[in-house]
Each structure stands twice: as structure tokens, then as C-alpha cells.
Amino acid sequence: MPPALAIRDLWKHYGKTPVVKGLCLTIEPGEIFGLLGPNGAGKSTTINLISGVCRMEKGSILVFGLDNRTQYRRTRQMVGVMHQEIVVDAFFTIEKALEIHSGYYGIPDDPAWRRQLIERLDLGPHLKKHMLKLSGGLKRRFMVAKALIHKPRLLILDEPTAGVDVELRRALWEMVKEINAQGTTVLLTTHYLEEAEAMCGRIAIMNQGDLVALEPTEQLLARLPFRTVLADLKAPLRELPPLLRGFGAQVEREGLRIRFDLSAHQSSWSLMQALHQSALPVADVLTEKPGLEEVFIHLTGLGQGRRNQP
């Protein structure tokens, strides 16, 4: 089976500014793939290029082996997009809008599927409401339903959980997992990195139009081989004992916490021994592994110096 999405040497400029610079990536059928990056990284532009909202300058995009320029009618039928911006048609109720929407994709309305979406996204009590009267969260739920109404093979979710409450966010991710298990490939962007870490098998990180990482999530997390050990003290530290100086120690919380960033060759056991020997009044010890957020910050160069802030 051809890849769900194959992007080769994709370029896009706004004016003279390049916003996507020679992007290449492949998403296999059945994946949940995360596309991350800070604001202005080029994620939404990439999604707009895939879905046809933006005109391509250079490169190629194949959706399940079909060119999205020459065979756009077939490729767009296979793609469902939930855009980051909330866009609704003020003239219709949720019910009417969902009823007609799959027709745009050349697919007759399937009332059973429509009812299923309405139920899963808890839109039932709001079907007769007009779009302008919906809350932000409801509009997002409606947009998810709209992206799925024609049963796409590739679902693109651009910040689907922005401004959505915790309960709905959880329900939404459960639904995405379920849809994925039924064979739909998912490409998602999110600023909630813990969500990407939990959902995505592979992650690409873009920064200022460049692809700075494209790896399985586990591999990406292993990119930063340090671990962090936090030692909370019962009394403020006056001076760091010489025994602890080789462990990347930083004193925080007015001397009540010592943070140790251990490199790959340093074991936490040797740190524990050093702590014991230094006879510090230790109240508690916590260990942390770097998460996607740390990897993201490391790769995009964001938040530099954050560690040194008080």
C-alpha cells in the first residue's frame, strides 16, 4: 500500500519569507503522526498545502499514492481536515450543516454515521442551534464532526484541543484512537506536548520552516540522555559540598532544593552515595526523565536560559 502521505521537497513563501523550506516526510497508513513546532514554524501552512487551501510552489504531495494537484478530486475526498481557526457557516444549524457536508466530498450522507458522530461528540442537545450561538468548545466539536463526516482515510487535526476543556479533550483523543484503530491515518498538531507524546507513534518537529526532527516518539525522547534528580532539603543550603559539584548541580528555591542534571555516563546511584556522604539534611529525592517538552525546547532553541531563571 502506498504511504498515506508522501511530501517531497515542499516549499512555500509568504512574500519573500520562506515558511516551509524543502519539507520531506512520509506518513505510513495507520499511523498517528504528530507535527509539532512553535508558532510560525510552518505546521499550518504545511497542512494547508496538503489540503489544498494553499497553492504549492515547489515539491510534491502524494496522498495514498495520488498527486494532490493533478488528482485533487480523489485526494481531497480521502482527506478530512479540522483547521486551527474556528470557521463555521452562520446560516445553518449544526444538524443541517452536518447533513449536507459530506456531499461536498462527493459522498452521500450516511445518517447512521452522522448520528454516531453527533453522539460521540455530544452534539445532540445542540443540533438546532445556529452556529453563531455556539460556545468555542462546541464549535470545535462541530468542526471535528465536520472533518469526519465523509469518513476520510487521512484525518488532519490542527490544534484540535485548543480551548477545549479537559473532559472533552480526553473524549476527543479516545475517539481519535478508536478511529485510528479502525484504519484511519491521523496527522495532528498540538501545543499540548504531553498529548503528542501519549498519542503519536512518530513525531516531526518543525522550526522556522525547517524540519528539525522526524523520529519515533521513543527515539525522540531518548535524544536528551540526561536525567534530572531533585533533592529537597529540610534546611537551606549555605554552600554546595565539593562532593556534589560534578553532578551539574543548581541550587533552587532559596537553597531548599538542589537540581542535578545527570549526563548519560553518570548514575543516580553515585549521586545518592555522594548525597549520603555529604551529610546534607535531605527531606526527599525525586527523579525526572526529560519529556517531549524538553526535547522540543532543545531542538527549537526555545526557552534558552529557562533553567537558570530563579
Binding site: 487551501v53 480523489r74 470557521v87 446560516f91 445553518f92 462527493g106 482515510r153
Partner: protein, 260 residues
């Protein structure tokens, strides 16, 4: 979930057409009733009050003279308003992306917006025509030509609506097309007076007004009398329709101001 489902190639067009028709029907008081009432007021003023006292065309009452122009005015204004406001609102509010990501082809896109706009224009024109029978009867000298002119006029201005919606950057821009271009050209295009009674300079100038040919052709079809030969008025209308269609088609096909 994502099993292969048959693609019905005409369905995107039909869906957009249906949505456009539902859109204007949902606000029918604004899109259908108001223009019919406005035209009926004109009919009342020129039909019931002045209609029998003035005659600008030998053998016809003034009411009979103005009815073709008033019917056409309804067709032109509403065909233009429908395609221009719907497309511009979609652009302005951003929900045009709902269409841009679908498999709808440029020709289906144009056809759907055009047909919906024509339906509204022709619905208003038909109502005005029906109401006009209460004020004056018309001979319907060339009925097929009359229908052809109504269809061409609605087609032409639905295309112009698409062009205006794409070129406008804000609501002011869009309203200028109607207020400063279409309405003056309609009023100066011979709705209320025959061009032949104007001094030669103004009469000559009126021949540069494209809407004059539509009104004159339609009046010829209904009354059997016109200021210019019908071949000229029908030929000019057909030519302008084609030109505007090509313009609108080029804009939609290129994605100008629609796709980034």
C-alpha cells in the same frame, strides 16, 4: 471506518447549489420579499398614479413602458447580490476553506454560485412580473426572446457578483459595486425613459451603458419596440455574459484571493 466509498462526481456541485439556495431561502424576507416590495412600490407609483397620464412611447402607457425595466432591475440586483454577498461573506468569515478542501472543481464552483444567484434573480423578476399584471397588461411580442434576455441578464450579473466578491477587500468595496456602479447604470440605462428622447450627447453616452442593451432588448421582447436593433442588444448582452464568465472562471481557476 475509512472504507473506500463511491465518489459521486456531480454531488459536490449539487451540494453547493443546495446550500446556496438554502442560504437565500433562510433569509427570504431580506432576499426575496424586500426586493419584490420595492419593485411593487415603483409599479404602484408609475402604474397606478402616473401610468395613464404620461406616455413616452407611442401606443403604450407609461406603466407598460417601465415594467420591463423594473422586472430587469429586480433580476440584475438580486443575481448580483446573491453571488457577491455569499462568496464575499465566505471569504470574509473564513468558511471558504470548507469548500477549498473539498473535491469541488472550479467549473462546479462557478456553476453552483451562478445557478443559485440566477434562481434568486429570476424568482424576484417573476414575482415582479406577476404583480405588474395588476397595473398593466403587456403584449409579450417575443416571449422566447424575453425569457432568453432574463436568463442572460441573471447569468451576466451572477458572474459580475463573483468577480466583485473576489476583488473586494471589505464590505465598503462590495457595496460600492452596487451603489456606485450597478444602480446608477440601471437608472441611466432607460428604465424610466427611452434613450431616444435624450439630447444627442446624452443619448450617445447612454449607448456606452451596458445595462441599456439589456433593458432595451427586454423591452423589445415584451413590447415589440426598442431604441436599438434587437440583434445589437442581444449580441451585446451575450458578449458581456461571455466576457464576465471568462473573467470569473479565470479568477476561480487561479484561486486568486481564495487560496493563499
Amino acid at each position: 471506518m475509512s472504507a473506500e466509498r463511491p465518489f459521486v462526481s456531480w454531488l459536490p456541485f449539487y451540494t453547493l447549489l443546495k446550500k446556496e439556495v438554502l442560504r437565500f431561502l433562510r433569509v427570504f424576507a431580506q432576499t426575496l420579499v424586500t426586493p419584490v416590495i420595492t419593485a411593487s412600490l415603483y409599479l404602484f407609483v408609475f402604474g397606478a398614479t402616473l401610468g395613464d397620464r404620461i406616455s413616452v412611447l407611442e401606443g403604450f402607457s407609461y406603466a407598460q413602458f417601465v415594467i420591463p425595466g423594473l422586472v430587469l432591475m429586480g433580476v440584475i440586483s438580486n443575481s448580483f447580490s446573491n453571488s457577491s454577498s455569499s462568496l464575499f461573506m465566505s471569504r470574509y468569515l473564513g468558511n471558504i476553506v470548507d469548500l477549498l478542501v473539498t473535491p469541488i472543481s472550479p467549473s462546479q464552483f462557478i456553476l453552483a454560485y451562478t445557478l443559485a444567484a440566477m434562481l434568486r434573480g429570476l424568482a424576484v423578476g417573476s414575482c415582479v412580473m406577476l404583480i405588474s399584471t395588476a397595473f398593466a397588461g403587456l403584449p409579450w411580442a417575443h416571449p422566447f426572446s424575453a425569457v432568453a434576455m432574463l436568463v442572460m441578464a441573471s447569468f451576466l450579473f451572477s458572474q459580475f457578483g463573483i468577480v466583485a466578491a473576489i476583488h473586494s477587500t471589505n464590505f465598503d468595496n462590495l457595496s460600492m459595486y452596487n451603489n456606485f456602479l450597478i444602480l446608477p447604470l440601471i437608472y441611466l440605462g432607460g428604465v424610466f425613459y427611452p434613450i431616444s428622447i435624450l439630447p444627442s450627447f446624452w443619448g450617445g453616452l447612454s449607448h456606452l451603458n451596458p445595462i441599456f442593451y439589456l433593458i432595451d432588448g427586454f423591452r423589445f421582447a415584451l413590447l415589440g419596440r426598442g431604441d436599438v436593433p434587437p440583434a445589437l442588444s442581444f449580441g451585446m448582452t451575450a458578449g458581456m455574459s461571455l466576457a464576465l464568465f471568462l473573467w470569473a472562471a479565470a479568477l476561480i481557476r487561479s484561486g486568486y484571493r481564495l487560496r493563499q
